[in-house]
């Protein structure tokens, strides 16, 4: 029996040695491939990690920047990297798998709390376009939500916003049903399985319009007391920004022009996007509806991409109030407008 056990032990040790060799080789191969990236055709490659595991119309300014040669003129080859889940963008840029992130503002706050030295370098949107969504024609009365079922997601933005919904409705969490969804709460809404959905309005409008041809009823959270803070921002690791400040500036300068052009020419901008991603689901109508619904949240031309210290104070306050944020910092730790200059 001893001989049998020692044979097993030898096998286990052999397996452990093989695993170790595999892990070390993979680590070496990974670092080697990362080091060899970066420059192609005289342009500097900038990898932008998207916020969602699938591309959608929020990438319009980036694809316009490429299609209209704005990034090329700035000496950049911008590539969009799709993350594996909805909450890995910050981790990916922290691990060097991307240079610039497209995140929610709450991701930056949680990232800093987790010890990740991530910083927002520009706003994507200027306003909070999150709210309650009902079927086309239905009326949303925030004072009458008691007993209703409200579809929610598990993301940090929903968690920060829901207390405002409950407070405005004068109810506690147990007085409404809150079915949790991972990917979509609009289909159950349209099927009559929930009374209200929660979503950012650009996605809700695009989905409902492409499904029914009608605009959904919406109530922005800012109408019942939620802070008017941007949902999405562009981010970078402080370590990357220190060594690649010129690239960050060039990226934001070209992106600002791409935003302005995409706002002025929505149809052409969406066509550029669909040419870059022809196999994307939803088609022209969905993407155009979505982009057009995104434009109002982007703010005025003069303030495109510019951040405010107050927005970070408000986000931190909202997350702390819900009890999901353990550590917070001064706004300057979360953002900088330095790369928007020059």
């Amino acid at each position: 029996m001893v001989r049998f056990a020692s044979r097993r032990l030898t096998l286990a040790l052999a397996a452990a040695t093989a695993l170790t060799a595999t892990v070390v080789t993979a680590a070496w191969a990974s670092s080697a491939s990362h080091a060899s990236a970066s420059r192609s055709k005289g342009l500097t490659t900038v990898r932008v990690v998207f916020d969602w595991p699938g591309i959608d119309f929020e990438a319009v300014p980036l694809t316009v920047g490429t299609a209209r040669g704005l990034y090329k003129k700035a000496g950049l080859d911008v590539r969009i990297v799709i993350p594996p889940s909805t909450s890995t963008t910050v981790q990916m840029i922290a691990a060097g798998k991307g240079d610039i992130g497209f995140d929610t503002t709450t991701d930056v706050v949680f990232g800093q709390a987790a010890g990740i030295d991530v910083r927002s370098i520009a706003n994507y949107s200027q306003d909070n376009n999150w709210g309650l969504v009902a079927k086309p024609g239905a009326k949303i009365d925030i004072k009458k939500i008691k007993g209703k079922s409200i579809g929610i997601f598990t993301d940090s933005w929903t968690k920060a916003m829901m207390p405002y919904v409950l407070k405005a409705g004068g109810v506690t969490a147990s007085q409404v049903k809150q079915p949790i969804f991972s990917s979509d709460d609009i289909a159950p809404l349209l099927a009559g399985k929930i009374d209200l959905a929660t979503n950012t309005l650009n996605y809700a409008i695009a989905q409902v319009q492409s499904a029914t041809g009608k605009r959904p009823s919406v109530l922005l959270a800012t109408k019942f007391g939620a802070p008017n803070v941007p949902v999405w921002v562009y981010t970078g690791m402080n370590s990357w920004l220190k060594g690649h400040g010129a690239q960050a500036r060039a990226f934001l300068s070209a992106t600002r022009k791409a935003f302005a052009w995409s706002i002025a020419h929505p149809s052409a901008a969406v066509k550029d996007y669909l040419e870059a991603y022809p196999k994307i689901g939803g088609g022209l109508k969905y993407s155009l509806d979505g982009w057009k619904a995104t434009i109002p949240a982007l703010g005025a031309q003069s303030s495109l991409l510019t951040q405010r210290a107050s927005q970070w104070k408000q986000v931190v306050h909202a997350l702390k109030a819900v009890g999901v944020l353990s550590k917070s910092f001064a706004p300057s730790k979360y953002f900088t407008n330095a790369y928007l200059k020059g």
Binding site: M1, A5, R8, L9, A12, A15, A16, L19, T20, V23, V24, A26, A27, S30, S85, T86, S87, T88, V90, Q91, A94, A95, T106, D107, F110, G111, A113, A114, G115, I116, T154, D155, S156, K159, K177, Q178, P179, I180, F181, S182, S183, D184, A187, P188, A191, K193, V324
Partner: protein, 283 residues
């Protein structure tokens, strides 16, 4: 008894070594790739998180166990019944088998939204998803077991005048046990993953699956890995329980004991002699 204790002790030591090996490789990956805790916490930190947040984890754990076990039992029962029905009738088999294979090729996530709309956001949707994943290996194994029953034994029973039900209970049913438990063991490991997907689809109650999402959304990787360890433990425990029941139910696999079914084919006649049941005169 001493031999049994020694054997059990060796197995426990090997299991502990295996766990140690997994934790060692986990730490090695962190070291080799220079992973920070926000990407992948150490197993030590993850286990400590379970201890620290036990009051949070406990109700979530119970909810996910309920979904996993109930769905597993339903899937196993459906799988067994389908396997038997398909074995009994070639027409049924030809009709249902392609549909079953297709059902497994369909990504559950893709039909998750319609399922939730159809069945609601309560326990039923999760049970359907778990059963969906569990029943297939059970069907395939039961069908395989029934197809491999000794033809000579079946012919002998028929010649001896055994009724179809008796033949099934005495010969075919015991023959399905070994393959059935193989299918159940595969199903046991699938069940917990299916329960997590069920929770991700739509849920009124928080379980470990929904907790994974909320923790990930706030970059709480320790919380994520703590929940992952608990989910893994549910799967392993279910696997071990099925294995233990399998050991008790199929003693002939470990010692020279005839299958209960085959033994039951022999009965005592009026004089107390052991005889093949088919040869007894009708009363």
């Amino acid at each position: 008894m001493n031999a049994f204790l020694r054997k059990t002790a060796v197995r426990l030591v090997m299991a502990a070594l295996a766990v140690g090996l997994i934790f060692g490789v986990w730490n090695l990956v962190i070291f080799a790739f220079d992973l920070k805790s926000y990407a992948l916490p150490t197993p030590q930190d993850s286990v400590a998180t379970i201890y620290d947040r036990w009051s949070t984890y406990q109700p979530l754990l119970l909810q996910t166990i309920k979904e996993t076990v109930d769905g597993f039992l339903i899937g196993a029962a459906i799988g067994f019944a389908l396997g038997v029905a398909m074995s009994a009738s070639k027409i049924v088999q030809r009709l249902i088998y392609p549909a079953l294979i297709t059902s497994q090729a369909v990504p559950v996530v893709a039909v998750a939204a319609p399922l939730a709309i159809l069945l609601g956001f309560g326990l039923v949707t999760k049970l359907v998803i778990v059963a969906w994943w569990v029943f297939f290996p059970v069907v395939v194994n039961v069908l395989d077991g029934l197809a491999r029953v000794d033809r000579d034994l079946l012919n002998l029973a028929r010649v001896m005048g055994a009724k179809r039900t008796r033949t099934f209970l005495a010969i075919q049913l015991p023959a399905t046990l070994s393959p059935l438990f193989s299918g159940l063991k595969i199903g046991a490991t699938y069940a917990v993953t299916a329960a997590v997907i069920g929770e991700w689809v739509a849920s009124l109650q928080y379980g470990l699956g929904t907790y994974l999402n909320t923790a990930a959304a706030s970059l709480d990787t320790r919380g994520v890995m703590g929940a992952t360890i608990l989910l893994t433990m549910i799967g392993i425990t279910l696997f071990l329980i099925v294995t233990a029941i399998g050991v008790v139910a199929t003693p002939w696999e470990r010692r020279s004991t005839a299958r209960r079914g085959i033994r039951s084919l022999f009965v005592n006649d009026r004089k107390g002699a052991r005889r093949w049941f088919g040869s007894l005169p009708a009363d």
